[in-house]
Subunit: 337 residues, 2 copies
């Protein structure tokens, strides 16, 4: 694959200028570009500039307001509500975060309900940002139906990722960010391209029968990880990110979407807890001993390790994106400088 | 299997009298007996009177204080801390619950940290009790190592159940309560007895190799559900139920336990959120429409359905326990009336 080599600054500029060219104001363009840059920095290309054409499509169709100003309220002492006013999620998250951090510290725990927004990014940056403040954090959004509940044969749950983070003493926080689908759609596409089978439990074919043929899964439906237990996690995500905060469930998001290729509307639930207020060892030595014992087991790696390795290199070495994607972004108004 | 038929009142009496005979005060005996009775009512025998000999062993060895009086504090406006003072969990949960409910309502969200306790029961009753107050609830305890983290070949995580509940309008709350092990140990034992294979991913043999032979898994180690994603959920449970609240991780609990057959010491993390303060539709019509759409899919059943079916019958029909267990409980001082 021929690639275009970019510094992280160039990633940011490409993203921000294309968004500005399609109606984002500076605050929204910067927030979304930063989110895409974090993904490229961590070599998570599927959430990086790869998403830009979708963001632009949502601006062009008028589904998303690129000049939205999030409105923040405090409906209860330990609850922050961010109404993103039909904007992309990154600015709402950025503006809401200080309120969430302050509330978690003053109350011990806080919920942030982010609503009326369009989320199209990885979750780990928002969870990491809370862990960087010394908080334990959890985040989950609903999305558009991709996954059949256990027992069913049609898509109903979103990919419904769940991210959780715990601060470390002298290391980047431990953060996992995992979809409730058994396998990422991109991985299934790659297996189909390469002629490999996928494990049982990855998905069903178009007739609702189990299959290990990735092409058949792509025409059928994906399944949750871990059978009915993973399905229960996906159900929890729907209820937290939609029912509890009064935004759309995944199936509603799909019904209302204009299918422009950009992110559907959906809410996000965030939880932040201050371990200093719940009885944790303030030095974190207790949890560090746990992490050390865990890592002492042969074969164990902490979630997020690959991201942390990647970000040691990419600020120096830069990253590559496919030349075709680069050309597309330039055609959309993206500039490297 | 020859069985002894019991009414639910008799279940409660058998449990309470045996506990009183081994040093519990009335409050502790009643709380633990109620917990076991809830399990029998729901036909979850593995958490019912089956546990009584373990409770008694922990009293006899002095590991657990049957007269413990939980101490409740409010270290932060949205945090309730219950120090069970080395008692069984049920009394701490019972005494702490009104504080958790009030705090969740006044603050919007609240954490309850239950520490210095011995938990040996199903989680769904405590989550259901919070849902009955109109709250969304999550609970998880750490326990003693039973499950190898993904990639490892030895037990390190506890069974680490996670329970989550969401209130319904005219139905019992939706509550799931699931261990992070792929299969319950009891199910593996039954497969071994009956000569059936278990699915790949259930566990490893004593040499750390994957196996579908249940007897080999019982000599080896269990695996988390859903591979590395389920392992991440188990990791989250450890961090919430131990690191965050300052109680023992599963591996520490095992190191300190006296192996009397009773429950090891461990903490429990509970979270309660008032949906009326986070933007949920107050009538619950929005989430009810979601549940209806979900149940409209062929093959879908809500978690907890079997429990709800069971409890329609058992208060009338009673339950059965093995005659050998009944005899054991009577020998321990249990009386039916």
């Amino acid at each position: 694959m021929s690639g275009m080599h970019l510094s992280l600054d160039e990633v940011w500029s490409l993203g921000a200028t294309a968004l500005l060219a399609h109606g984002c104001d500076e605050a929204n363009a910067a927030a979304v570009a930063t989110t895409m840059t974090f993904a490229e920095r961590d070599l998570a290309a599927s959430h990086g500039l790869f998403r830009l054409p979708g963001y632009v499509a949502a601006l062009d169709s008028g589904k998303v307001d690129g000049t939205a100003q999030p409105r923040i309220s405090h409906p209860a002492p330990a609850v922050v509500r961010v109404d993103a006013q039909r904007g992309f999620a990154p600015l709402g998250l950025e503006r809401g975060r200080p309120h969430l951090v302050d509330t978690a510290r003053s109350q011990g725990v806080a919920v942030m309900a982010l609503v009326h927004t369009h989320h199209f990014a990885a979750l780990w940056p928002e969870v990491e940002a809370l862990c960087a403040e010394g908080l334990v954090a959890l985040a989950c959004p609903a999305y558009t139906p991709m996954v059949a509940p256990a027992g069913a044969r049609q898509a109903f749950f979103g990919t419904n990722p769940l991210a959780f983070g715990y601060p470390r003493a002298d290391e980047p926080p431990m953060v996992f960010d995992q979809a409730s689908a058994a396998m990422a759609r991109g991985e299934i596409q790659i297996a189909a391209r390469d002629g490999h089978e996928v494990p049982e439990g990855t998905g069903l074919d178009a007739h609702g029968n189990p299959t290990t043929d990735p092409a058949a899964v792509l025409e059928g439906v994906q399944l949750p990880f871990g059978g009915y237990k993973g399905s229960a996690i996906a159900l929890m995500v729907e209820l937290l990110a939609a029912g509890l905060i009064g935004d759309w469930f995944s199936y509603e998001a799909a019904q209302h979407d204009n299918h422009d290729g950009g992110p559907a509307r959906g809410g996000e639930f965030l939880l932040a807890i201050d371990p200093a207020r719940t009885g944790a060892d303030p030095s974190l030595a207790h949890s560090e001993a746990f992490f050390a014992a865990l890592l002492d087991l042969d074969g164990v790696r902490l979630p997020g390790d690959r991201r942390h390795q990647a970000r040691l290199r990419t600020p120096i070495e830069g990253i590559s994106i496919p030349a075709s994607l680069y050309d597309e972004i330039v055609a959309l108004g993206g500039r490297r400088h």
